[in-house]
């Protein structure tokens, strides 16, 4: 505890950069996956391709990706960009599948109703398909957010600042307290992110929080 309080500024600053490295890929992944999934919905071949490419990408070890990316992107090895690009790739690999499931979860009758009312395709997608797919989409996002928080720590092996630094540093100095602070801090971040996502989902899907009508029809006298 004393160690923690003595090093609080460093812990907070590392937690902050940890968070940035986890959140940005999540946002980018949503922006990339939603159109990809929508394209895949109308093309079975593309859907199959996206899903296999995603699976393959996800099997590339994260450390290897962190090392290869500077070569591909021309960035410095200590650049945040490497982590962000790597985690975006992983997140997209998972999220395309989730988004596809999410869009397919929308009741076709409702979609038909929207078409019948005269929505144009893009407007219908943004105003009907996307909002209604949020519950399933968020389920996927919550898994990826936790996975991102944990993957960010790997960057510490290359010296990219995150709470993972306490793992490597604690190991080198044979100082378990530091390792524990790293682990607990990472867990707290994961829980925090999850909480924010749950809250965000509640805000974005107000219609799911309403009490249902009684099952029986009320016949007026």
């Amino acid at each position: 505890m004393t160690w923690l309080f003595g090093n609080l500024p460093q812990v907070l600053s590392l937690a902050g950069s940890h968070l940035v490295q986890a959140v940005i890929p999540l946002v980018l992944a949503v922006v990339i996956s939603v159109p990809l999934a929508q394209i895949a919905r109308h093309n079975k071949t593309l859907a199959a391709t996206f899903l296999s490419v995603g699976s393959v990408l996800y099997t590339v070890p994260s450390l290897a990706l962190f090392v290869i990316l500077p070569v591909v992107l021309g960035t410095r090895i200590l650049d945040f960009t490497n982590v962000i690009v790597a985690l975006t790739i992983y997140a997209v690999a998972l999220l395309v599948r989730s988004t596809l499931d999410a869009l397919n979860s929308v009741d076709d009758g409702i979609r038909q109703a929207a078409v019948a009312m005269g929505f144009r395709p893009l407007h219908r997608f943004l105003a009907v398909d996307l909002p209604l797919s949020l519950p399933v989409l968020f389920a996927g996002l919550r898994v990826i957010s936790v996975s991102n928080i944990s993957l960010v720590t790997v960057g510490a092996l290359l010296g990219i600042p995150s709470l993972g630094f306490f793992f490597t540093d604690g190991l080198q100095r044979n100082f378990p307290t530091e390792i524990i602070v790293g682990i607990v801090g990472t867990l707290i971040l994961a829980v925090l992110m999850d909480g924010v996502l749950v809250l965000l989902q509640r805000l974005l899907t107000p219609w799911l929080r309403t009490p249902r009508a009684p099952a029986a029809e009320v016949v007026r006298a």
Partner: protein, 367 residues
Amino acid sequence: MVVPHAATASTPLATTPAAGSVIEFRNVTKTYQPGRPAVDNLTLTIDGGAITVFVGPSGCGKTTSLRMINRMVEPSAGTITVDGRDVSTGPAPALRRSMGYVMQSAGLLPHRTVTDNVTTVLRLNRVPRAQARRRAAELLDTVGLSSELGRRYPNQLSGGQQQRVGVARALAADPPVLLMDEPFSAVDPVVRAELQQELLRLQRDLAKTIVFVTHDIDEATLLGDKVAVFATGGRVAQYAAPEEILRAPADDFVAGFVGRDRGFRHLSFSPGTDVPLHPVPHGAGWELVLDDDGGPAGWRRDGAAVVPGGSLFRLGDSLRRALDAALSSPSGLGVAVDDDGRVAGVVKGTEVLAAIDAARRAREGGP
């Protein structure tokens, strides 16, 4: 016949006259699999301002035909015109906004409030929000819902209420054409009967061109000014007034589809005004018990417990109602009530049959 647009005439939203448009199918074919057309060379004129019902067994092409009108389905061949204009010219979304659409299970957008659902087409047409909301409140009233329901989400409504919102939404932009795809088939029979009467009431004021799809011949004959009976293979076996379809089915298919009870159903079109009314029996035997408002509460025999009565024959109803009232009554006497639900007398089954016979002879022109 065409009543002015009472409910909505004050709103500036109407872009077309209230009287409905004439819809014409000319040699329309839709083929999904080669050699097995879903709709086969359909030629049909749908009267403006009237309810036309497409009825038939599943897979007969009635829904496909309906959906070709607003281009939810594109025909493989042939043309469909609305007031002489080919629907295939111009963008489909604009065409769809000019027609109301009501589907089974309402198809309301679950993530939008009732008001937002009703205003959907208005907002698509860029009607200002405040104006659209006023119109929504007005429409909820028209379909018999409290405007307080406007703030709720669809899942907070009963099935019947959702269906009413579906109708309000379809009427919002005051389209001359209303397409209804089995709109009442997912609600229970009591609510369905209520919704059917509401639709007839609305139509008396609105005089839209309504195309209504159902697989229920009773619903078809009740609602339709004209009924098109679709046969398997996507052809129309008969297109006529419901009375004629019941009285003179064009072929074996129609006769079979209309069913065994068609003689009984046909009585719906004969008024029961000539059936003699008798005073309510008192004393020994069956006795009719009245409630505080003068309505029927049930029957009692020789002072025993009260048993529930049968169906009611409202004065002015058809012979079908009169006969059913007599047949379903425990005493064999059908209870006749006036418009306020007060007992007006009783009818006898034998005399209803005599009235049926008289009506038949009058139709044949004989003595």
